[in-house]
Amino acid sequence: MDTITRRRFLTASGVVAAGALAAGGTAYGLRDILDFRSEKPRGRTLVLVTLYGGNDGLNTVIPYADPAYAANRPSMAYDEGEVLRLDDEFGLNPGLAGLHRLYGQDRLAVVHGVGYPKPDRSHFRSMDIWQTAQPDRPGTTGWLGRWLDDAGGDPRLAVSFEPVLPPLLAGATSAGATVPGGALTLPKGVTPQVLAGFGTPAAGEPPARARAAACFADLVKVRDLVDGVIADDEADDDAPATATGGQAPPLERQLALVARCIEAGSATRVYSVSLGGFDFHADEKGAQESILGTLDKPLAAFVERMADRDVVVAVYSEFGRRVRANASEGTDHGTASTVLLAGGGIPGGRYGEPPSLTDLDDGDLRHTTDFRDVYAMLLADVLGADPERVLGGWTGRLRFS
């Protein structure tokens, strides 16, 4: 059931919470987000970066000093001379120069061995598990969607710049806002009257058709949308097509929009951005290094730009990869991986227990930190919320001391 599409939250399939379907496609203009103000004093801001496809954690934060690492990956290991050194045990992938610089300034935290019990190695299901924070049975609400329900449900509190709302922002009674990038100038002759007319609800129509109509009403709100942001007119022929995520604008553009909103003083608390293309079953080394570069540059620049603001960035993927390389110089689907945290006063350094490379669970790493501990820290420390309410009574929490 879950494999039909990872967008299953937003299909009118009955699994979606009614509130999310009603609000899920609601688009806001950038102007709406820039002008968003709140009565409450502004707390810290969370920027969540989702890497679709299963990023290889062992070749991201590299245990170069562990002989088992090179032994398991003879043709795709990095040696001590190649890594960007963190300390005597670990180094970063050479593609992560910007993050390495942040680490040197104690502004990047690496959390080792993050995962969940009974790991699932399906891209689609594992991403659902991370986004719902419900490892036993992913439900129909995302963890930040549930936070949003509790925070009053204003969609502008949780914003995504992707064309479709990511499941993690779907709550039971509310949902985050999608702010489509690109040109939203209306075609000639399409008047506000037409949009308002088509956007009028019709009694008794099926939910899908009601949604189709509601999009016209949303379009009325979205005007003069994005200046200085251009639509993608050309498909990128060279982009990897192994992404198990939707098609989002380039990360650089998504982060530029986030930065603008934060600098404008928007009351938005959560931003979701994403990058796909991490599924390397073959010829991984060069390809992963290159795509990590496309993560590193905009991300490090963003953290620098937000240096004196209270903005925390968290980076995760649906799983890491198998410890042992396959014969194709790639890796198959694995389990626990690294979560990166940066900015907003996060103390730099390495946290959590690095998983053993020899004591494995069926060839895969055993997780040492439950991802809900990381979420609990973000909910409590960054969003000032009660993690237990959002995480179904989960009491663990990542500590930095």
């Binding site: 494999t3 064309p163 999608t178 489509p180 097509a241 939707g246 069926d362």
Partner: protein, 413 residues
């Protein structure tokens, strides 16, 4: 539902957007004969366009782009020209065994895969799965050619079970590892356009796979999959989501369709179209962009060669380029402000390509024009809301037609 609504619903779902004349003929022939007629051509191969050979290296890259463009053009033209269910079923299978030219990098191989989907896609899935495990495009896409006895590559075996045949929960991680071993030894070549089996790269040792222990090769594996109790329900679910309600059917519906349809995909399609729950799905299925475009092209009598490449890119769905092995999204994912805007824009562009149809619409009396438009676009009727918007533009047939194509009633069927 009137009889006309019934046959219109059937044709809208099974084919790529029927014309008013096709609905008339179906109404004349009756539901049974219409079903027979649209299902009949399924399983026939076609003459593929000659794109020229694949050329490796830098010089080849430019040519590969031309080949890819021509392959898409050719397929769109075929979709528009064929009134039956065959081409839409091929499109369904393309989204199911979702393979992207971005990694395959060879349009001839994509077309060869499509021919396989055409040849076997209407029958029992046994031969289809066997053939797909030998399909060069799929092997390249999921790293099958890198899968050897010394260290198997699990990509193909995993997606084969998770997405293509069984669904999550019907197999274990050990099955993935065993499945990868069973598929070792296949290599694909872009240059020769073939897949070959290299015995010395194959792992001949016994494996335990889906409860069966022994030597397993690709054919044995395919047979284990299609005989697995989860296989037909998985396929029926995927078919129902694309042809029925856009949502997973309940267990009772799956059981009814499976019992009525037997093991052949054409039989299952027939069972879906005649299932008591099928009529009630009208108005619940969001058209995918290709369906929206080809339906409009057929109804407006447009030559697909005049439709700019950009249209499908802007609408978010380009054949041979699914976003991932999971295929294209379904349902409300296609109902966003961005897609609504794209439909408004391309409705205008399509209308500009169909002056004769606009003139024809203009010949109906202004008072009857909205009904003429519904007939032309095979929409059962306009809601009061939409009727009000269209009535404002009834005096301008070109504008009226563009608004009809962009309307909520035309986005969902």
């Amino acid at each position: 539902m009137t009889d006309r609504d019934t046959v219109a619903h059937l044709l809208r779902r099974l084919t790529f957007g029927p014309t008013a004349a096709e609905v008339d003929a179906a109404l004349e022939a009756g539901v049974g004969a219409t079903l027979d007629a649209v299902l009949a051509p399924i399983g026939r191969t076609v003459t593929l366009p000659d794109l020229g050979a694949f050329q490796p290296g830098k010089e080849g890259r430019q040519d590969a782009r031309r080949q890819a463009r021509e392959a898409v053009q050719w397929w769109l033209q075929r979709m528009a020209a064929q009134p039956g269910a065959a081409e839409k079923l091929t499109f369904f299978w393309h989204g199911h065994w979702a393979t992207s030219i971005q990694k395959v990098r060879s349009a001839p191989l994509m077309l060869a895969q499509q021919q396989t989907l055409r040849r076997y896609g209407g029958g029992d899935t046994g031969p289809l799965v066997r053939a797909m495990l030998r399909d060069p495009a799929l092997i390249l896409w999921l790293d099958g050619q890198r899968n050897t006895r010394t260290a198997p590559n699990e990509n193909l075996a995993r997606e084969l079970m998770e997405l293509f045949t069984l669904g999550v929960g019907a197999y274990t991680e050990d099955d993935v590892k065993a499945g990868a071993r069973a598929l070792t030894g296949w290599r694909a070549s872009r240059t020769s356009g073939t897949a070959t089996f290299v015995p010395r790269r194959h792992d001949p040792g016994p494996v335990t796979l889906l409860g069966h222990t022994g030597r397993v090769d690709a054919d044995t594996y395919a047979d284990l999959l299609v005989r697995h109790p989860a296989h037909l329900p998985h396929l029926v679910t995927r078919l129902w989501v694309r042809y029925g309600s856009g949502a997973a059917p309940d267990a009772a519906t799956i059981a009814r369709v499976t019992a009525a349809g037997g093991r052949s995909t054409t039989g299952l399609l027939r069972a879906i179209a005649t299932d008591p729950a099928f009529a009630a799905t009208a108005g619940q299925l969001v058209k995918q962009p290709v369906e929206w475009l080809i339906g409009a092209v057929r109804q407006l009598g447009i030559d697909t060669d005049t439709v700019p490449d950009k249209a499908l890119r802007a609408l978010g769905q380009v054949p041979f380029r699914p976003p991932s092995v999971g295929g294209w999204p379904v349902g409300a994912a296609w109902l966003t402000t961005s897609s609504t805007r794209a439909r408004l824009e391309h409705a205008q562009k399509l209308t500009a390509l169909a002056p004769d149809t606009v003139a024809e619409l203009g010949r109906s009396a202004p008072a009857a024009r909205l009904d003429a438009l519904a007939r032309l676009l095979v929409v059962d009727g306009w809601s009061e809301r939409t009727r009000a918007v269209l009535a404002d533009s009834a005096a301008d047939p070109r504008r009226l037609l563009a608004l009809g194509l962009a309307s909520p009633e035309y986005a969902v069927h």
